[in-house]
Symmetry: C2
Subunit: 464 residues, 2 copies
């Protein structure tokens, strides 16, 4: 299988250039002003699949942004792998914290990426990662070594909750029929320690609005006598957690499964340095739920974070105002057995209950997703694990991660098939943050590992 | 003294037009991008004083915006009144809540102002109010009835804490020498119930910054394991008050003088309808320190309000980020005997102490001012009270107000003279808010009342 390495060696500059072109498109799905860019990005994805040798290419309309579908069916008796990814990206702000333009990709060397990394919004999440599959597919097509059928479903609304993908999946079960789903939208522990994500958190994302007086007021004339919606919102947010940093919403933990000591020991076995963690983030101390380690807090415990807050005067200087309204975006990451709908309801009920009579509150759920657990005793996991063993020289560690890919639970429910989370990013890649980047090493290692997965999976599937 | 009413009647349209021209200048001192407008406004004020008959007009440079000085000294043996006001205005945002442009003044009738009100930023605070003095001065000059000496000091930094006025006053004690200071930057209870402000709160205004991780993080990968600066800031703000809405900063109330039951009874005597108050602000309930009435909360109790808060993602849609930083602007209104410097120190110490080790905090004091009490047994108060009795037909009620004019305490300290707060605004004028306005009735009533003050004061001063 020397051809894999050879092909990558001969084509790597082009692979990088093509990804850079894709990264120049500001396909921000959350912001309507980038609508044309998101649509152009879908076209670009379709073209790249066509060039790589895919057939039945379709830019499938939805109520929102389109889903790019393509396939290559070589033999109905062979297994089928469905590759899922997304071409939309997170908003780029705060822009002032980027060292270079978020949509002007550049390659820079870093301590973690001595071979260089591509800096751009979406470099890792998820353009760089889904594009590995396009290039791995091209490699197999050009070398005439594609061992099974392949389908692509690359969507444009992952960063806004995949609102229209569910309907598409339900309406296209036959078209999407497959034996496993392969997704690269997660990470590995480090470039020396490969890992495969076996658990994903669910998500409940909520926007709240607190209204005090019906207009902005002078804080001298009214201060102390009317509810200041910012103070009240802060008090309500503070009431979301107790002094042990447990979440205070009644019923929040009802369905959370306590892990066995054996499972906790397994988590503790993954390589992790608290000092390095604190140093990388410039933290004097970590902060989280009492009674759990950092790995447990991110991996297996549900969490609540305010993702944005605003209200009153935020310009330069001083303005003595009591604003009429204050706002926050609050999200909760959920663990297996918690339901995003139930948690959203519990949050709404609690938030409404704790509001004093002196304010009005409005709660708007943004989007949610169920948690997901990927088993390690199925052939698709084994195929992925062996592929990484071949390309990294080490068996990957199974890891439960805090991230959410809400649609994965739906795939299982509707298509009755498990997903394998074979991602190649690093925690330090700054996804969703300024200066997002993706290592050249990781990009090429992904393109190298994916064909091995296809070969392993087909072989194991056929010998079932 | 019929000439006062006659002159106003004959000139009122011009008085209104001239004020409208002044209101068109966006003299926002807090925002550097309006620098040229603030400077142009100073020129305009100087011109209007010259036209009215003032002499020794000077646009006095400071480290910030200039102070406009002018005077008319008719006889060294007569008393001198110093008129203070400010030509700068508050920022106009949120712009989307204005029904017309903040710097495109228009006259509209309202329920409270059946004769019409001028809608514009600064209409009441303080352009409309200091300009009454310019027009009243013109009236007295044109009718040759100015009974004493007059000095004007109109500054351009009141809305940003009068940072350079203190130095100017100290350096110009001889120039500013006077027997009383007259200020119109406060209000009356209603157009049927005149009042004179006899107490002003002090102010401590602080900006805080809370830093968690050194960069924005993905809330799935890091949520629950690192301090989210927004959650922490909310918890810290919530810790500023206890469940009785007392301020929790240790030592905060140390110097607050408890009012006697007689004084509290006097406050309760001022006309006030809680139902009307709630209805006007569309509030289901009021909110404030336990054990005190609304009038006491605004008039005689120190308060703490968050005037602005921001952090994380505040755009459309959802972004799952843990921001690196969160910010708030927090102000405290102080009552007699509290010192803004001491309170600022107590706040800073407390805020730093309650911060968990997992975050860094930065506290930046913006500006402060001492509280002020105006006695009612001095001739300048009597002169003002009698003037209102003449023009309103009712003796004004002395009222302690929550607003702050920080420089008033400094005038007393440096110039050894009391200030009279003869304002004509209404609480409903929405100063510092969208749709600020000033009643035509109030504007003209002010111009009418001021000459009576001058006449009364001169007479009482001479017969001392």
């Amino acid at each position: 299988m020397k051809y894999i390495k050879t092909y990558i060696q001969e084509n790597k500059n082009r692979f990088i250039d093509e990804l850079i072109d894709l990264l120049k498109i500001p396909s921000i799905s959350a912001d309507p002003k980038y609508k044309m860019d998101v649509l152009n990005c879908a076209d670009s994805v379709a073209s790249s699949l066509a060039s790589a040798g895919a057939e039945n290419i379709e830019i499938c309309k939805t109520k929102g942004y389109p889903i790019v579908y393509a396939d290559k069916i070589i033999d109905d008796t062979l297994p089928t792998v469905l590759v899922y990814g997304h071409y939309d990206v997170q908003p780029a702000d705060p822009l002032e914290l980027w060292d270079s333009g978020p949509f002007e990709p550049i390659i820079k060397k870093t301590k973690i990426h001595p071979e260089g990394a591509i800096f751009a919004r979406g470099a890792c999440d998820d353009k760089g990662q889904f594009f590995m599959h396009v290039k791995a597919f091209e490699l197999m097509m050009d070398n005439n070594t594609l061992p099974c059928n392949i389908k692509f479903m690359i969507e444009g609304e992952e960063e806004v909750g995949s609102e229209n993908l569910g309907e598409f999946v339900v309406a296209n079960k036959e078209k999407l029929k497959c034996d496993t789903i392969l997704i690269s939208d997660t990470g590995i522990i480090s470039n020396n320690t490969p890992s495969i994500t076996t658990g994903l958190k669910g998500l409940s994302y909520i926007e709240v609005e607190v209204t005090g007086p019906n207009r902005d007021l002078h804080s001298g004339l009214y201060g102390g006598a009317v509810a200041n919606p910012i103070n009240i919102l802060c008090e309500m947010i503070a009431s979301m957690k107790d002094e042990k940093n447990h979440i205070s919403i009644p019923g929040f933990y009802n369905n959370v499964i306590e892990l066995s000591s054996q499972e906790r020991e397994e988590i503790a076995r993954a390589p992790f340095s608290l000092n390095e963690y604190k140093e990388a983030l410039d933290l004097s101390d970590i902060h989280g739920e009492q009674g759990f380690t950092t790995m447990e807090r991110t991996g297996i415990r549900p969490t609540l974070d305010v993702n944005g807050i605003w209200g009153g005067y935020t310009g330069e200087g001083a303005k003595t105002v009591i604003p009429s309204k204050a706002f926050a975006k609050i999200s909760m990451r959920l663990v297996p057995n918690q339901s995003d709908e139930e948690i959203t309801n519990l949050f709404t009920k609690y938030f409404t209950n704790i509001a004093p009579k002196s304010v009005k509150v409005k709660v708007t759920p943004h989007h949610g997703g169920e948690p997901y657990v990927s088993p390690t005793d199925i052939i698709s996991y084994k195929a992925a694990s062996d592929a990484m063993l071949t390309t990294f020289g080490k068996t990957p560690v199974p890891v439960k991660a805090g991230g959410s890919i809400p649609i994965v639970a739906l795939f299982e429910q509707e298509l009755n098939v498990k997903s394998i989370l074979l991602g190649f990013g690093l925690d330090s890649d700054a996804i969703h943050s300024p200066n997002e980047h993706y290592g050249i090493f990781n990009y090429l290692k992904g393109i190298e590992t994916i064909p091995h997965f296809f070969l392993n999976f087909t072989k194991m599937f056929n010998s079932k």
